[in-house]
């Protein structure tokens, strides 16, 4: 990061600076405190706002205006015809090297352009310059005191030189955001899949145990390996004589069940045996399908979760509002939106934080998400989604199933209480049908078993058990593969999430420790500065709550009281001093990138004495050259008392002062040489026929020339000469000069010769006839470029009417000392 000083600001067509064709150029001394004075309305704050726009790309004062005010249309100077505002900052590297000129433009469509000279990355340099303490005004200081602790803490991160660390932490928080992360990877759906496959495996094992017991004639020993279990099952199958030829030379999985059933059918028994096999299969199918039907308690739990989900949903306002809240939070959480009580949608403000409001609204949506997830997890865990086989068996002809659609709704989080009740009642219904059907099948099986020989029935049962065992093993295999796949995905996402969370926590802890450390370094300096400005037994204190962004302010001492609320007791001037002390202390330790500060009217709340103290603190304790590696300070002020101090200081080698004059319509210029700049611009406009642009500048130039003559010649004027109608002021000045000439003529003391008096009268006649008579009546259309060029010549001729050649024959002229004295 390069540290920069500000060598020059150039502005045209932006805010209150028109200056068409002749930008306002303010040069600053790199090794001095720079001050600029300007009367109200001249454009001082436009200078501040121009640099603000250059660095931050927007001016919150305009952005936060109500929509009807169309604040964005006021970035550009309304009198400038070019439709583009241009701000150029010439920056000098502290370490030496070539200057860099940053040029920032904005056009009428609001398009923001940035470029830099010498191949520099303009955006990179601007990012380095955009520090919290670079541009300070009274509003910034007021907000620092009035802000909520969390907002103050966030802006304080910048003061501590931690703004980019804070931005990094916010970036880390964004990529570790749990809700967004889970949505991206479908974590909830995967957790449900995992539950489903786990349940499917459990159910397959239950079938395996039951079938094995029938086939092998013994309970399945949990310690038995899967290979051993298969071997014993195969052996049991081979022991059935009619199946031995089918089983020989085959593994358990290779034995075709249909061939076994066919062999049994053809061996003996006829139709009863075939029917018995069919009944056994149907009974097994019903039993398998009914296995794991959730209980009545499970149904109640599911409905209760649906009710909880509905309750959470009632606190929300739909998807569109969810997007609105999310976008609003994104805007409000950004430091570029400083006032968290202003709504980014309607730009109105209120007493409470809109950011807190939209976060609370967002939390309601997260509660719905959590409730829906709990419902889905319960659905999967209790096997509600595993009943499709039962439903298929239980459906009456023409009846539509409900569980497939419910599964889709569960995954979408769309199951409400009514649907949950409907589904639980439906499952109870199909379970009842299963129970009835199993009773019917059981009766038929008993009847057939009585008809068939016992051995025949056993063979059929074993074959059916074999078929079920083979099928269940296949189901188990599928469930295990799927379970492994989803578990792998969850393990990988869990690893990523843990890494992101840990990264964020490690970084946040480091940032928090740095903030605490730096704040502790700032506090004593802040107190010294405050004391040097206010000279009272009042001691400011800063407190950062550990683990949070909150920064609280208070008074460690308020005369003989301790631990007093700063907001409650401090007057405006003390609040201002508190804020200034914090900002200057922070900038003295942690300024980087920008090694300059621009202070705009920060002394308004101070009386003369405290203004002096503040200026002395800046000059001797803070700014360069008093502090050699301190920041370059530029002070803007309209205060006439402060201007006197600036003028006095400007005689010192550590201070540079300049004054700007002008207005928003025509031009804002440095007072030095300003009249010539106005004159040149006026003539340039007239030469291209732009009378409307020239006419107001003629007034500015004429008034300056007349005031200069009056001042230099010590001509007395009425005390209200500048307070009557502004359209009459030039005429009033001319009249005052005329009266003084007449007075001295009458007294015989006039120093002017007859030719000079005649010249004055001719010039005045030209000025009055071709300009003032029309200007006074606002009839601008009466002007022509040619006549106004004549007026400009007449104005320039005025000086010659009051001058003498000094020394004689030198060609150099000076104004008389007065109308009665040569020098």
């Amino acid at each position: 990061m390069t540290d920069w000083l500000l060598r020059r600001v150039s502005i045209e067509g932006f805010r209150g600076v028109n200056n068409e064709g002749a930008p306002l150029v303010l040069d600053f001394k790199l090794d001095r405190v720079n001050s600029i004075s300007a009367p109200n309305g001249v454009g001082k704050s436009s200078v501040f706002e121009s640099v603000l726009y250059a660095l931050r790309g927007q001016i919150s004062k305009l952005e936060n205006l109500p929509p009807a005010e169309n604040g964005r249309s006021y970035y550009l100077n309304r009198f400038h015809p070019g439709g583009v505002g241009t701000i150029a900052l010439v920056l000098a590297p502290v370490a030496g090297g070539a200057d860099v000129t940053l040029t920032v433009t904005r056009n009428a469509q609001g398009v923001h352009g940035v470029s830099a000279s010498g191949g520099a990355d303009a955006n990179e340099v601007l990012a380095d310059l955009n520090q919290e303490f670079v541009l300070l005004d009274g509003k910034t200081f007021q907000e620092f005191i009035d802000d909520r602790p969390v907002d103050r803490g966030r802006s304080f991160a910048g003061l501590l030189g931690l703004r980019r660390y804070s931005a990094t932490r916010q970036g880390l928080q964004s990529v570790s955001n749990t809700l967004a992360f889970n949505n991206h990877f479908g974590i909830n759906g995967k957790e449900q899949q995992k539950q489903t496959q786990r349940l499917a495996a459990q159910q397959a094992w239950a079938k395996i145990r039951a079938a094995y017991e029938v086939l092998a004639g013994e309970p399945l020993d949990p310690a038995l390996s899967r290979d051993e279990m298969l071997a014993r099952s195969l052996s049991a199958l081979q022991d059935i004589p009619i199946l031995a030829p089918i089983c020989t030379g085959k593994s358990f999985h290779e034995i075709p069940p249909d061939e076994c059933i066919q062999a049994a059918k053809t061996a003996e028994g006829g139709e009863d045996r075939v029917r018995y096999a069919a009944v056994l299969k149907e009974e097994t199918d019903w039993r398998d399908a009914s296995n794991g039907v959730p209980s009545a308690e499970d149904a109640t739990a599911l409905v209760e979760l649906a009710v909880a989900r509905d309750t959470a949903l009632a606190e929300t306002s739909g998807d569109v509002f969810q997007k609105l809240y999310a976008l609003s939070e994104q805007i409000l959480a950004d430091d570029a939106w400083p006032d968290k009580t202003v709504c980014p949608t309607c730009e109105r403000n209120g007493p409470n934080s809109v950011l807190d409001f939209v976060r609370a609204k967002g939390a309601n949506y997260e509660a719905v998400e959590a409730a829906s997830t709990a419902l889905g997890t319960e659905w999967a865990a209790k096997g509600w989604g595993q009943l499709s086989a039962l439903e298929k068996l239980a459906l009456i002809e023409g009846e539509q199933g409900k569980l497939a659609g419910a599964q889709t709704k569960i995954q979408a989080g769309g199951v409400d209480e009514a649907l949950a009740r409907e589904l639980t009642e439906w499952v109870a219904e199909i379970a009842k049908r299963a129970s009835e059907r199993l009773a019917s099948i059981g009766a038929e099986r008993s009847e057939l078993e009585q008809k068939l020989p016992e051995s025949t029935a056993t063979v059929v049962e074993n074959i059916e058990a074999f078929r079920r065992l083979q099928s269940a093993l296949s189901d188990l295999e599928v469930a295990e593969v799927r379970l492994a796949a989803v578990a792998d995905q969850l393990a990988r996402t869990s690893r990523i999430k843990k890494f992101l969370d840990d990264s964020c926590n490690v970084f946040s802890a480091g940032e928090s420790r740095a903030a605490t450390r730096r704040m502790q370094a700032i506090e004593p300096i802040c107190r010294d500065i405050f004391q040097a400005i206010m000279f009272e037994p009042v001691v400011p204190a800063l407190t950062k709550r550990p683990g949070t962004e909150e920064l609280s302010i208070s008074l460690a001492q308020f005369w003989n009281l301790q631990n007093i609320s700063a907001q409650a007791v401090l007057s405006e001037s003390y609040r201002n001093a508190f804020s200034i002390s914090v900002y200057l202390a922070a900038a003295s330790l942690y300024s980087g990138g920008a090694k300059f500060l621009i202070l705009d009217d920060v002394t308004s709340s101070f009386d003369c004495g405290h203004q002096l103290h503040l200026v002395e603190v800046i000059r001797t304790r803070f700014a360069r050259p008093g502090v050699p590696d301190g920041p370059q300070v530029i002070i803007l002020s309209h205060d006439t008392m402060l201007e006197k101090l600036f003028n006095k200081n400007s005689h010192n080698p550590d201070w540079a002062h300049q004054r700007i004059v002008g207005n928003a319509r025509t031009a804002v210029l440095q007072q030095s040489g300003a009249a010539n700049k106005v004159r040149d611009a006026t003539i340039a406009f007239l030469n291209v026929g732009r009378v409307d642009e020239a006419a107001p500048r003629i007034r500015q130039y004429l008034e300056y020339k007349l005031e200069n003559l009056i001042l230099r010649l010590k001509i007395r004027v009425p005390f209200d000469v500048a307070h009557s109608s502004e359209k009459q002021m030039a005429q009033n000045l001319i009249d005052a000069i005329k009266e003084q000439i007449a007075l001295h003529q009458a007294a015989g003391t006039l120093i002017l010769d007859a030719a000079q008096v005649a010249g004055f009268n001719t010039a005045v006649a030209t000025i009055a006839g071709n300009y003032l008579s029309h200007w006074g009546t606002a009839q601008a259309q009466a002007f022509t470029a040619g006549s106004l060029l004549g007026v400009m010549q007449a104005i320039d001729a005025l000086d010659a009417c009051f001058s003498f050649e000094d020394p004689p024959a030198s060609g150099s002229f000076r104004l008389y000392r007065s109308l009665s004295q040569v020098n």
Partner: protein, 84 residues
């Protein structure tokens, strides 16, 4: 290394770049496989610019995929058959 044993402190005598490099080293301690993906975004984050977190997550997820196993031979197939 467990997260609670890994600490990152901002060095007040160093600039942002140096401190972010130091933090990147901590990231590698947390998870060497995932750290480069996040490290690549630290400068962007520090400027307050938005990062494409979907892309980051997808890249991280892809990087955690197990290495492809060698193609199954005959012996493997036989074992598969005996496994169930």
């Amino acid at each position: 290394m467990p997260e609670n044993q890994i600490a990152f402190d901002i060095d007040d005598t160093q600039n942002l770049d140096v401190n972010l490099t130091s933090f990147a080293a901590r990231l590698a301690q947390l998870d060497a496989g995932l750290a480069p993906h996040l490290e690549a975004l630290l400068q962007t984050m520090s400027r307050g610019s938005a990062v494409d977190r979907d892309q980051l997550w997808d890249e991280m997820f892809a990087s955690t995929a197990p290495a492809p196993e060698p193609e199954a031979g005959e012996g493997d197939a036989a074992n598969d058959g005996a496994a169930v």
